[in-house]
């Protein structure tokens, strides 16, 4: 009987995995909560827009378009759009099977969606990441967006978030976001990279051959830089948005020069008029599904930012469960695709000795090296909490402020767990279930416990804010309906 592979996520990683598993001869069910494949990178326009030239908004569109048609039209592929995995049900201990995959099919957060259960022989998890945004005073004002939100709105539905936008944070993602805003007709006041010029140059310059091997990426980034230059948009390093101000919405951003550890250089504050501020300080992998599947995590740049641990075959520590893409490390779309292709081939029962795998493994290894370089070039500076004021909201859902967190941490000092802090302040207990503030709260508590901000803590187990047995909301009515079993 043909092997059944379920792939969760149809971004660059998941689409690659599906394609390779099909090539290996497997039967594939590809699920994504979005209506179209593409993930964050190749986010497609809605059909209702009837766009004649969608490729204009994308890099590598033609190859993507061919791939997605081949995969979704393949006789052995079931493509399930608008399908959210809300739970993974692990098999009995000792049983070497991947978890059963519980999904809901229908419009986002709708009622009465169809419940289905899939029982794969192999599972590929490729759910991607979302922006990590550090708090600063005013980051909860309407008009402050993550950079990813601006990107998703511009690319995915042609909505531009403001007229005059400040883009700030850390990492190369700032560039495509600024480029999309310009393309969509906004003016970009400035692009601010918090890392100092020296730190960024050191990170990017040390081993240029790794960069060259990501040729697609290098060319793409150069294109964005040229666009910024054409529009005379300043790109400043060692500068960050440290405050957003306005009456009920953003009216201005306060920026300041930063030292290498992201402490503010006093007296360098500047006020910029803007109606939108877009920030990203890195990416947080969406770990709830891997955690639910029982996959071990590995430490990232800080203890609060782990990734899924995978071996040379993209296999996680959970039986039959592979992981690919930004859940294993942040290295951009080409690296995600390479990981997906490898994971899918092996998950689909393809021969580990197949000659094509040599090249694929090499590409995947280049991707991993690139991820390590990116992380080294754009670390979050340890002194960023210096931006915070006592009243700055840290948990957006519960509006827990920095002072309340510090108080709770001090009360808890001497053994009390992160859980006590959580219950005391409610930080991380709101609707987003700590997706946004989880790593930040854990980091602030760790620093607080270690004394001076910036000094690394020794041996303190951080809270693991990634445990969410219900990965996506399900309604009581839907839960009451028995699922339709599908093979």
């Amino acid at each position: 009987m043909t092997r059944h592979v379920v792939v969760v996520g149809a971004g660059p990683a998941g689409l690659g995995a599906a394609a390779a598993a099909l090539r290996a001869g497997a039967r594939v069910t590809l699920v994504d909560s979005a209506e179209h494949p593409g993930g964050q990178y190749h986010r497609m326009l809605p059909d209702a827009y009837r766009a004649a030239r969608p490729g204009r908004l994308h890099h590598g569109w033609d190859a993507f378009d061919r791939l997605r048609r081949r995969v979704t039209g393949h006789p052995r592929c079931a493509w399930w759009p608008e399908t959210s995995v809300w739970m993974l049900e692990r098999s009995a201990p000792g049983e070497p099977r991947p978890p059963r995959v519980h999904v809901l099919r229908g419009p986002a957060d709708g009622s009465g969606r169809e419940r289905r259960v899939l029982e794969p022989e192999a599972l590929v998890l490729a759910p991607g990441a979302h922006d990590r945004a550090l708090p600063f005073p005013g980051w909860d004002l309407p008009g402050v967006f993550t950079a990813g939100a601006a990107q998703a709105l511009a690319k995915g539905e042609r909505v531009v978030v403001g007229d005059r936008v400040v883009v700030g944070g850390a990492g190369p993602f700032l560039l495509p976001v600024a480029a999309s805003l310009l393309e969509a007709g906004a003016s970009v006041a400035e692009v601010l990279e918090a890392g100092t010029a020296a730190a960024v140059a050191r990170g990017w310059g040390r081993r240029p051959w790794e960069l060259a091997s990501q040729a697609g990426k290098a060319g793409e980034l150069a294109g964005y830089a040229a666009l910024l230059a054409r529009h005379r948009v300043p790109y400043r390093t060692g500068r960050a948005v440290i405050e957003a101000r306005g009456d009920g919405r953003v009216e201005e951003a306060v920026t300041a020069r930063l030292r290498a550890d992201w402490s503010v250089v006093p007296g360098t504050e500047r006020t910029v008029t803007a109606d939108a501020v877009c920030v990203t300080h890195g990416f947080s992998p969406q770990l709830e599904l891997p955690v639910a599947a029982g996959c071990a995590l590995r430490a990232g740049a800080t203890p609060e930012e782990p990734f899924v641990e995978v071996d040379a075959d993209q296999l996680t520590t959970a039986p039959g469960v592979y992981a690919a893409g930004e859940v294993t490390g942040i290295a951009g779309a080409p690296a995600a695709r390479a990981e997906g292709l490898l994971a899918g081939w092996l998950a689909g029962g393809g021969a580990p000795s197949a000659p094509e795998l040599r090249r694929l493994r090499a590409r995947r290894d280049q991707g991993r090296a690139f991820a390590a370089r990116l992380a080294a070039a754009h670390p979050v500076g340890a002194a960023w909490p210096g931006w915070l004021r006592p009243g700055t909201v840290v948990c957006r859902c519960e509006e827990t402020d920095y002072a309340a967190l510090c108080r709770a941490a001090d009360d808890a000092a001497g053994g009390a767990a992160a859980r006590a802090v959580k219950l005391g302040t409610r930080a991380g207990l709101g609707p987003c279930q700590a997706r946004i503030c989880g790593p930040t709260v854990a980091e602030l508590l760790r620093r607080r416990a270690a004394g001076a901000p910036g000094r690394p803590a020794e041996g303190l187990a951080p809270a693991t804010p990634h445990h969410r047995p219900v990965a996506q909301p399900i309604r009581l009515g839907e839960l009451a309906e028995p699922p339709r079993e599908s093979e």
Partner: protein, 114 residues
């Protein structure tokens, strides 16, 4: 100064003319284009916030991709729908939600069904 939809006629992606749709938010009509999310319709109409946090603080779109739950609305009676992920359908009756203690929102706390 406000967010907006790139006009179809000026769109490099070569969009055909928009197919109009209309939704209501707390009874007030908003015009949008088929394909937009509910958040997209509201933003393009210049509205940046529609939900209130526990202190009454305004919330709208933050993450744009379904991670932050800032944008929750009630759609045709279904609470806690992420406006950034739900496509607007012509005639949708959207009501806003609030977690503020003194709000008129009957259920008071969103996220309650999870």
């Amino acid at each position: 100064m406000s967010p907006r939809l790139v006009p179809a006629s000026a769109d490099a992606a070569g969009r055909r003319p928009d197919v109009p749709l209309r939704i209501t938010v707390d009874g007030v009509p908003y015009n949008g284009a088929a394909g937009q999310t509910i958040a997209g319709v509201l933003l393009a109409a210049g509205r940046r916030s529609w939900r209130n946090g526990p202190s009454g603080a305004p919330r709208g779109v933050f993450c744009g991709i379904g991670a932050c739950f800032d944008c929750l609305v009630t759609v045709n009676g279904d609470r806690d729908v992420r406006a950034c992920r739900r496509r607007a359908a012509d005639g949708d009756a959207v009501t806003t939600q609030s977690r503020a203690a003194d709000s008129a929102d009957p259920a008071g706390t969103d996220g309650g069904e999870r």
